[in-house]
Symmetry: C2
Subunit: 355 residues, 2 copies
Amino acid sequence: MSSSSDFAIEIQKVQDSKISDVDFDNITFGNTFTDYMLVCDFKNGEWQKPIIKPYEPFLIDPSAKVFHYGQAIFEGMKAYKDEHDEVWLFRPDENFHRFNKSAVRMAMPEVPEVVFMEGLKTIIDLERNWVKSGLGNTLYIRPFMIAIGSGVIAQPSTQYRFMIILSPAKSYYSGAVKVVIADHYSRAANGGIGAAKAAGNYSAQFYPTKLANDKGFQQIIWTDDATHTKLEEAGTMNVFFRINDTLYTAPTSERILDGVTRKSIIALAKREGIDVQERSVLVDEIVAAAQNSTLKEIFGAGTAAVVSPIAAFSYQEIEYVLPVIEDSFASQLKDKLTKIQYKLAEDTFGWTVKI
Amino acid sequence: MSSSSDFAIEIQKVQDSKISDVDFDNITFGNTFTDYMLVCDFKNGEWQKPIIKPYEPFLIDPSAKVFHYGQAIFEGMKAYKDEHDEVWLFRPDENFHRFNKSAVRMAMPEVPEVVFMEGLKTIIDLERNWVKSGLGNTLYIRPFMIAIGSGVIAQPSTQYRFMIILSPAKSYYSGAVKVVIADHYSRAANGGIGAAKAAGNYSAQFYPTKLANDKGFQQIIWTDDATHTKLEEAGTMNVFFRINDTLYTAPTSERILDGVTRKSIIALAKREGIDVQERSVLVDEIVAAAQNSTLKEIFGAGTAAVVSPIAAFSYQEIEYVLPVIEDSFASQLKDKLTKIQYKLAEDTFGWTVKI
Ligand SMILES: Cc1ncc(COP(=O)(O)O)c(C=O)c1O
Ligand SMILES: Cc1ncc(COP(=O)(O)O)c(C=O)c1O
């Protein structure tokens, strides 16, 4: 990919880096940001020149469409440092394409590939000191786009802002994760925006998740909203179920985010000779499998959480505890995946991209 | 309602009003704002003092939750000027209660009644010159709340901003409105956020609405997402169907906004002796009624659009044109409603509140 000169990135340098103030060993997810942000505006029907400048608040009109009508999409990716201090991205093309798919669904302009990809590479190159080596240490990357045009009429904006911000991170969840299977609330509608990484999909989950938290569960596994019989995905993870030695995961649909981790896990499992099936997974069959002990594992898969084993699930107020398994599929697949991401194993798929 | 002293409103005066720059006869909906805005922040678990200050952009962090997770809700109301230059609100208590219902569903803090109601009254009193007399002239009122806390982790914010902004307006739609009945895309899920006035519900509709616009239709009438057989509501209006002399409208549910105009139209129709039924309205029965000419009217009802007659609808690529009716229910009910709003008829319901 060659950077078009229209989109040559201007860099405004910071005076002093904040990096020495950061305690990298005690970092909470998503709260610390690096020195720079990338900003690229869309107006008059065109994308403007991208600028990398000091991370800081910006001015926005109270009537900006993002506040009133929720035109906002994002991506979540990570940069990894290998043992030779090289920095790598994992399948960034997947995030780029999904970002623009989200943009179309939310009636927002697609971001040019050169702005997204060269933007990513340039800002991460500039911030490579913020990517710490060691398994689990990453730089979380948040590309996003918001409607900044003003006006309180429910119509798409004519002005947008694309940004990339960066946050050093350890992995997302820690400890045993317990989940509730949804039997009333839902995440996405048929013909809705569930497959888009749209801001509105996330706040919609906060209240039901709070109800689950109050009962001691961290996450919800969403079901289809029409019947609540099919298991779909969690708030920020796709979900895999292991019955005996077969892995099952819901097929992607217009209700489900097409996760990069999900498709990577499927590819890795296939390579390892694990039987993986993408097909509807019914609540009833998982409850039955839990009851007859053929349900061996449930795990979530997502960029932030990587691979996150589920210790127990609750369905209609009954809690089902999963067995503790030696050498689980979750731990095997997480190990294979992270070794590729950190360049500790050969990347036979060509997934990693050097900064 | 008495204003608690904690929430006494501070007013920061503007130097010069912008009002003389405004051409009130040629105003487009939602693009012109008055001199002031009300701002009230929530932090450290408490609502802070409300401030009325000059309308202007404000600073916000790029990682603000509203941008990433869409925690944002709003209301839409209008102020009306009567023939004696008095300014009136219409059922503001309904908007206040709906706002806090939306807040709960989006895991946001409820706004104290005194902040919402005294805030409204104080800012509108200050801006009463912006409310023009004459039927159709209004001051559109936009209370809204956004999550301003920072951090890219999908969890509710701890900081919020409640604001009221004001925009002089004529009515929303003009000319004949043609609609498409949705048979693939949807607005809301069962167990979703359709009943909340949440920002994300609106951007979700932009893309399907654009597809409808491209075919010459202005709006979509949404159907239930599970079966697409039940007619629900339009993007910013509830919908009424008249078959022979009976009016039908969908019952409110967790998928449908409980519109103030809808409930006022129902009350007015009942008072006028019109048979109104709140029950599921099926696509099939409306198509059949259009075919056998018993379908007399369809109209939308909402604050912005008031009562908006539908001239034609399209379902699965077939267009059905509605008859042009003298003295339609739409025009009768619109007349009754606006006369109450502008104090040209007695308000037997006690709906109007003086500023
Ligand atoms: C709703 C949802 N599902 C699944 C995922 C996992 O997707 P990915 O593996 O691409 O991070 C995410 C998160 O990123 C998500 O937000
Ligand atoms: C989705 C939706 N339905 C219906 C309405 C009508 O509600 P109200 O009459 O309270 O304005 C609105 C608008 O305000 C709306 O946004």
